[in-house]
């Protein structure tokens, strides 16, 4: 366009600046560790025979573990949990608003919940659920058999408060969905619905393969968690149960360096509200 001597100084259009790349690496042994026994003071919370116990590795602050990161976007809990011993689990307890997802890796999880007309579900390796507690619900999670039950639990803030409670479940078939980043929760065909701007994908593949995860925008953050195996992302090597939180990038290239690698990608909109930052400054430690 031709300019005259009297053209005004160009003004930048009112579009958001590109998000700044930010990342952190959390090693497996840096997570919070809890061992919760089914007897003694926690017996009303934890089910099972007196020798049962839950082990929980928390990526973010949760319950007694408060010395780590508070969360990532709307993620508030990322728990790598094992129920040890017959009958072990969580007794019936209330929830509101949180959207709770579980991905069963080993054993059998009996999940009793009150969403809708309520149901008793039994989930085995590859099964997963999305339980949106919404206006209120209760659930109990048990490993009835002797075999340990191992699952990844993720809790998210919802997009709205007091939604009608809902429960959806599905199975991830790692034989037919191998070697690609498969979306399990979100807006893809056949993905389980979730009431927020969230996508959860899983990659099961061999060593030496490159895959690119593309978040829907650079304002989205992705929490990459290595369930099994190992991968390289840029200069960072992530081994079993290591994780990476990254935002402000257009895509994330990973190269698996171990056979039978199993990786979760949890994509979320990053929360950047000045009013929340101010409240946190005024309420250190809440």
């Amino acid at each position: 366009m031709l300019k005259t001597a009297h053209s005004p100084v160009p003004v930048a259009p009112a579009i958001p600046a590109p998000a700044t790349p930010r990342s952190f690496v959390l090693r497996a042994n840096e997570r919070g560790h809890d061992l919760i026994r089914s007897d003694g003071t926690r017996s009303s919370y934890v089910a099972g025979h007196p020798d049962s116990f839950i082990t929980r590795e928390s990526s973010f602050n949760f319950h007694d573990y408060q010395s780590g990161r508070p969360g990532f976007g709307p993620i508030r809990v990322f728990g790598d949990e094992t129920f040890h011993g017959a009958g072990c689990g969580y007794n019936m307890h209330p929830h509101h608003n949180f959207v709770i997802c579980a991905f069963v890796l080993q054993g059998e999880l009996t999940h009793i919940n009150t969403a809708g007309r309520g149901m008793v579900d039994q989930l085995r390796a590859g099964d997963y659920y999305v339980f949106s507690a919404g206006s209120g619900g209760k659930h109990s999670e048990l490993s009835i058999d002797q075999e340990d039950m191992h699952a990844i639990y993720i809790w998210f803030m919802p997009g709205q408060l007091f939604l009608p409670p809902s429960y959806h479940r599905a199975h991830f078939d790692f034989r037919t969905r191998r070697d690609r980043i498969a979306q399990l929760v979100g807006d893809a065909d056949c993905a389980l619905p979730i009431p927020n701007d969230i996508r959860i994908s899983r990659l099961v593949t061999d060593g030496g393969k490159k895959h690119v995860y593309q978040p829907r925008s650079s304002s989205h953050g992705t929490y990459v968690f290595v369930i099994e195996g190992a991968l390289r992302c840029g200069d960072t090597v992530l081994n079993r149960r290591d994780s990476l939180g990254i935002s402000g990038v257009d895509n994330i290239e990973v190269e698996t360096t171990s056979d039978a690698s199993d990786v979760l990608f949890v994509e979320v909109m990053m929360i950047d509200e000045e009013i929340i930052k101010q409240w946190e400054r005024e309420h250190p430690g809440h």
């Binding site: 009112a14 602050n61 949760f62 319950h63 508070p70 508030r76 307890h93 209330p94 929830h95 509101h96 608003n97 949180f98 507690a133 919404g134 206006s135 209120g136 803030m157 919802p158 997009g159 709205q160 408060l161 007091f162 939604l163 009608p164 509200e273 000045e274 009013i275 929340i276 101010q278 409240w279 946190e280 005024e282 309420h283 430690g285 809440h286």
Partner: protein, 81 residues
């Protein structure tokens, strides 16, 4: 002032919503919890320090401020929680 910055005085005085990080129970300063003795308009700072989540027992310090809207019918449910 840029349109995306905020007035810090009004940010401090605006009524807040908080959420229990133990179970997801919410507290809304505008609505209070009349059935638990907290009148509508009770500020978080005025909720007693030994108050705990009515549903799961998480201490007051385990609540976090949120900026999340209600689903249809949510405010009525929140006030009766």
């Amino acid at each position: 002032m840029a349109s995306n910055s905020i007035d810090h005085a009004s940010a401090s005085t605006a009524l807040k919503r908080l959420m229990c990080m133990g179970c997801g129970f919410s507290y809304d300063e505008a609505l209070g919890l009349p059935e638990h003795g907290l009148a509508a308009g009770t500020r978080w700072v005025d909720v007693p320090d030994d108050w705990v989540c009515p549903d799961c027992g998480t201490p007051k310090s385990g609540f976090e401020m949120v900026v999340i809207g209600y689903a249809d019918g949510g405010p009525e449910l929140a006030q009766r929680a």
